[in-house]
Symmetry: C2
Subunit: 212 residues, 2 copies
């Protein structure tokens, strides 16, 4: 498969959506789908679908439709590689950390939750998704032993600022960042996926207040 050297972020962000729709189609027993039908279901255009797929060599079959399972398999390979899951730690075991832990430990997303860290001693004898919660000061020795690749930050902005540099120095390559600290500015070589829930709500508010 010929993958473009640098696929743009909007295209990458649409891949999981294609994968979801193809998974649903496959579960419904559909064997083939055209780019225009897929586009219609997803609320986009056939031209957008074809352009997106062309970034990865096109996945063949244009004109006669795509084979659903083949297409799902190809996009799955892009998203999940050879199936080896990315070992991941969660920083912050509060309400949000607990809620998102189920996405990390879910088989279908490509991650394996191996450690949870917090500063609240009341949590140290507890578990999240079957993974014990450690005191934050054990982070360095844990990373030295288990080499996690991804860190999920479910902590306030200042705590994220305090811990991000250490995590990078301990070998973390990617962040799923729920804090309001834009760490990609300070660490441009690190891969960061931000989920700014407050920002998301505010932009919904803008659209409701200004565009109705």
């Amino acid at each position: 498969m010929a993958i473009q050297n640098k696929v743009s972020l909007p295209v990458i962000k649409r891949l999981p959506k294609y994968y979801r729709y193809l998974t649903n189609l496959s579960a419904e027993g559909r064997e083939k789908i055209s780019s225009s039908e897929l586009a219609h279901m997803m609320g986009t255009t056939a031209s957008q679908v074809r352009q997106d797929f062309n970034c990865f060599g096109g996945f063949g079959q244009q004109g006669i439709g795509y084979k659903v399972d083949v297409l799902r398999g190809e996009i799955g390979k892009l998203l999940f590689g050879d199936g080896e899951r990315l070992s991941t730690i969660l920083i912050g075991a509060g309400h949000l950390g607990s809620a998102v832990s189920s996405f990390i430990s879910r088989d279908t997303n490509g991650y394996r939750l191996i450690g949870v860290f917090d500063i609240n001693p009341a949590l140290f004898d507890k578990e999240i998704c079957g993974v014990p919660i450690h005191p934050l000061h054990e982070l360095e020795s844990f990373c030295a032993e288990y080499h996690p690749e991804v860190a999920v930050l479910c902590v306030p902005r200042q705590s994220a600022i305090d811990v991000a540099g250490s995590l990078v120095s301990y070998g973390i390559k990617g962040f799923w960042n729920f804090s309001h600290y834009d760490l990609s500015v300070e660490y441009p070589d690190i891969t960061v996926e931000n989920v700014h829930l407050g920002d998301s709500l505010m932009s919904l508010g803008y659209r409701l207040r200004n565009q109705e």
Copy 2:
């Protein structure tokens, strides 16, 4: 202030980030900032900042820098209108619903949580953020009495499909959607802000596996 008729979604989605940075700058006592300094802090370009601001009439002061508090106030007016909060209901009081409820009920985001609904009877005598949890079958009468404007969907895909049409018919204008149901396809006139956490994790995985 001259607002363009239709501001593009990427610009709208950056407004909360500007607001956050300006809030931090204001808290630090900064009085003025240039577009290039603001851009540098945020990891973008001065030209992007000026282009974004031009969608709203430019907020004046180019060349001599923006007054931090004035700029923060103008962007705040766009995001929060006259300060009246959007009355909001939460569908789904599980882990995720509990975690995101704090964002809805937080004073600073522009919303007011007035009702929570679930199908789990074990939750009916409980509260989230001081708001009682109702059985889902009370949704219609609740909406008829209190006229919520926004619904937050923290339920699985099928439950979202089942409830979305009713919510639209009960007068809901906007959705903060955590389910894997892309309801904007079926209801194009409704304002939807999607937070697909699984998609977010998968696209992080793509970048870590293919672009390192």
